[in-house]
Symmetry: C2
Subunit: 352 residues, 2 copies
């Protein structure tokens, strides 16, 4: 009866189990188990026999069952706030590659920018994964810190006490961008803000303020805007209204949306206004004009996050090595930035 129970149609032969392998090679299941998992602790010749049987029977260990006893699923959850955001493609690709190489499986979850969903999924799926990677978590610091006690976690672009993280150093890139714009003669730089719940957003804005001071230019802020293409129209209008000649956008998605609106309104980029994006996502190089942006090692961030997480999982209770990594970004100048319009240009004043 059992075959039917397992949901296999009557005739279809169900996958071989460890018991089948053991029977076929005349040993106990425990021996078969050891032979396959702990090759050292079994007689070489016996092991040989077992391995052959396994191969012949096309034996594939049932990871569910294994997880039940061992408590380890060899599965890692990767949470992103919006699957359709190209920024995450890179992350996902990086995690996927690295996980596969380590024999792990990836559980991809879209949290839809919702902290509740994020928390809910993390709990609901808790028994199904060994650890999680949070790309741009929307949880509060308190919440995140608490969570990290229950679940092995690595956060990407989020530095919080007690939570391992991979940080893409966009703030430093922002400083370069401000320098770049200042050197082009821009006197006012407006920041097109992303979601207020985004940790990165605050960091970028603060970096902008800091370096604006350094370069003696004025910093303004408009927004917040959704980190999406469609929000670009409103952002572009706001920038224009602010009367600035230069803008740094929270991310490329928003910047690309702004580009369209500027064209619509007959505003020339970079003739009338210069625009800098963040991340260098797919599309930043071929939009019109190609976007000057802060190139982030996105895929590597994913890979690094996985490495950190797996290292922790394996070191099994060892106090761990690296708990944080910082990845550098760099300014990639393309065609969306240029000299400030003549009417507004003043001679470059002494720098701070």
């Amino acid at each position: 009866m059992s075959p039917q129970l397992r949901g296999y149609p009557d005739g279809v032969d169900r996958p071989a189990t460890l018991a089948d392998v053991a029977a076929a090679s005349g040993v106990a299941t425990s021996t078969a188990s050891r032979a396959l998992a702990n090759p050292g602790r079994v007689n070489a010749i016996t092991r040989e026999r077992i391995e052959r049987a396994a191969r012949e029977l096309n034996y594939i260990p049932n990871s569910q069952a294994r997880a039940l006893t061992s408590g380890r699923t060899r599965c890692i959850a990767v949470l992103v706030s919006d699957i359709t955001n190209p920024f995450y493609f890179g992350i996902i690709r990086g995690t996927q590659l690295q996980l596969k190489a380590a024999g792990y499986t990836q559980l991809l979850v879209d949290t839809e920018e919702s902290d509740e969903l994020e928390d809910g999924m993390l709990h609901k799926l808790r028994p199904s994964f060994d650890g999680a990677i949070l790309a741009a978590s929307r949880l509060t610091d308190r919440h995140l810190t608490a969570l990290a006690e229950e679940v092995p976690l690595v956060a990407i672009n989020r530095q919080t006490r007690g939570v391992a993280n991979v940080f893409i150093d966009t703030p430093t890139g922002v400083e370069q961008a401000v320098g770049h714009l200042a050197s082009l003669g821009h006197r006012t730089i407006v920041y097109a803000s992303g979601p207020e719940t985004s940790w990165s957003n605050e960091r970028r804005w603060r970096a902008l303020v800091r370096s604006a001071e350094h370069y003696q230019v004025e910093a303004q802020r408009v927004g917040p805007f959704a980190p999406r293409q469609y929000a670009g129209a409103a952002a572009a209008d706001a920038v224009l209204h602010a009367g600035a000649t230069a803008c740094i956008a929270f991310n490329d998605l928003l910047a690309i949306g702004m580009l369209a609106r500027f064209r619509e309104r007959g505003v020339d980029v970079p003739g009338d206004v210069s625009l800098v994006g963040c991340d260098d996502i797919f599309g930043a190089d071929f939009c019109n004009p190609p976007l000057t942006t802060l190139t982030a090692p996105i895929e590597q961030a994913g890979r690094t996050a996985v490495s950190m997480l797996l290292a922790r999982l394996d070191e099994n209770a060892t106090p761990v090595g690296r708990q944080a990594a910082t990845l550098p970004t760099h300014l990639t100048v393309r065609a969306s930035t240029g000299p400030a319009p003549a009417s507004q240009t003043t001679s470059t004043k002494g720098r701070g």
Copy 2:
């Protein structure tokens, strides 16, 4: 000892199990199980008590354990050939949404355009999912048909005997594109071919040939090319070498790559050559010039695939209803297509 076994650090209280809930509400585990899964078959008042206990203990069913007995994991595998291809973003988003709504989890797998990896993952993970969605499978027809007997499957853009499918009707769109180009005076249309293992690729080419005949224009073919941006350079060169004034590319990714190369070579689009892409992916609307393309309901394809799969899973042995769905595409004309260059234009000859 058991708590430690499960991998929970000494002090940390492990998640409540069904046994805990049962004990707390003074019933047998089986009753608790029923109360939670099959509310109808249990005394209302008892159920109330059990549900409260579950809530208080913060009980979360262990899906691994559940899968072990029931054989159902409530997890669906989604296989894509390349995660970084924006075409799949839409698919993934669609499947994710629909799966979540049905209380299922998505297992995302990148097969890296490899049929071996595709087959391997499908088998290795077999016990971990109830069914799979194959987006652009690279498996042979034989293989796929055989597989469909073992695993509940829905293929996207792949029609094979015995395999349920969701088909995005790009071929019909190609016919429209050919009509569009013919009406613009183009006499020769070259197809920039995608991977030879791609089923869609053949279908698109055949549609092109068929309708070229209909419109009395010449059809040529160059390639194959990888369905990636970087392959666009070679494709653009090949098209130019073929001396055609119009091109339909296997997909937008390739077309976008071609755009860059054309600009590099001083070839004006659409002045010198018209270009049509396929799929209308992210970026097709903001590249330069914006791409005329065949808009595909990508996200809906994902949703539909999930619906079909889940319907089959639930109808549990019922011979099933819909085994195939066809989703229409339409030509979206943007700035990458225009009249054929004067030197080549001939008066529009009678149409077939």
